[in-house]
């Protein structure tokens, strides 16, 4: 069971999606998860491919090939805008 977090514009685009998931079969990486989410929520799919979208696994930045298995917290983040 992993917490699934969305930030920025992605939070709005993800309304209705579960905030906790067991990784579905065949979903091993960040890009697998993106594909799975896009299939369930097309609006979110578009937002996940916007420029600057980043991911974090257990509060570390993670690339599209990062392994999700064992993750306790998965974050999908719209382009960051600090400073």
């Amino acid at each position: 069971m992993a917490a699934l977090l969305f930030f920025g514009a992605l939070r709005e685009a993800s309304t209705g999606l579960p905030r906790e998931i067991d990784l579905p079969e065949g979903v091993h990486t960040v890009s697998d998860l993106c594909a799975w989410l896009s299939a369930r929520a097309p609006a979110l799919g578009a937002a996940l491919h916007a420029p600057g979208v980043r991911f974090a696994i257990d509060q570390r930045f993670a690339g599209p090939d990062a392994d999700l298995r064992g993750a306790r917290e998965i974050a999908c983040m719209s382009a960051l805008s600090g400073g």
Binding site: L5, M77, S78, L80, S81, G82, G83
Partner: protein, 163 residues
């Protein structure tokens, strides 16, 4: 009254409270007589953004991760320009026009590393610090994204930090 240690200090504070940049700078520079150069930057919530009035700004953050990511940026920059003292102060939550959002500062023996450190801090905060700006204006609200220039500047630093 101590001279600067070989290892500079790194101070990071992330909090929702309004802060006074002048008081924070005074505290940061206190007692560092060995250092001749203090460079700093304050980013304010603008009252006008892209020609449109801003009535409020909500700054979303990712508790825990935001603090860690900003600490990592501050330590990366301090390591790059050592010996140097580095300060980052950043708000989250509801911010009113005219209020400070971010303060970045560096204290060094000479001015070139102090300037370079503050610019690098700001460039990296723009694109690598987990904050999301949601501006409210007369016609509703919008998410703010970093510009292409912001991304290019941060990318250039990343190459230099992790070659």
């Amino acid at each position: 009254m101590t001279a600067m240690a070989q290892e500079g200090r790194v101070r990071v504070q992330i909090s929702p409270e309004p802060f006074d940049p002048a008081a924070a700078l005074t505290a940061f520079a206190a007692g560092r007589d060995g250092c001749g150069a203090l460079a700093s930057f304050v980013g304010y919530c603008r009252a006008v953004s892209g020609g449109v009035a801003v009535t409020g700004l909500a700054l979303e953050h990712y508790p825990g991760f935001t603090e860690r990511a900003v600490e990592a940026i501050a330590h990366d920059v301090a390591g790059r320009f050592a010996p140097i003292d580095v300060l980052v102060r950043h708000r989250y939550g509801e911010i009113r026009p005219g209020e400070p959002i971010v303060l970045a500062a560096a204290l060094s023996v000479s001015r070139a590393p102090a300037f370079a450190a503050v610019e690098m801090l700001m460039d990296l905060l723009k694109t690598d610090a987990p904050f999301w700006k949601h501006e409210t204006g007369p016609d509703g609200a919008r998410w703010v994204a970093p510009t292409a220039e912001d991304r290019a500047r941060a990318e250039a630093h990343r190459g230099r930090l992790r070659p």
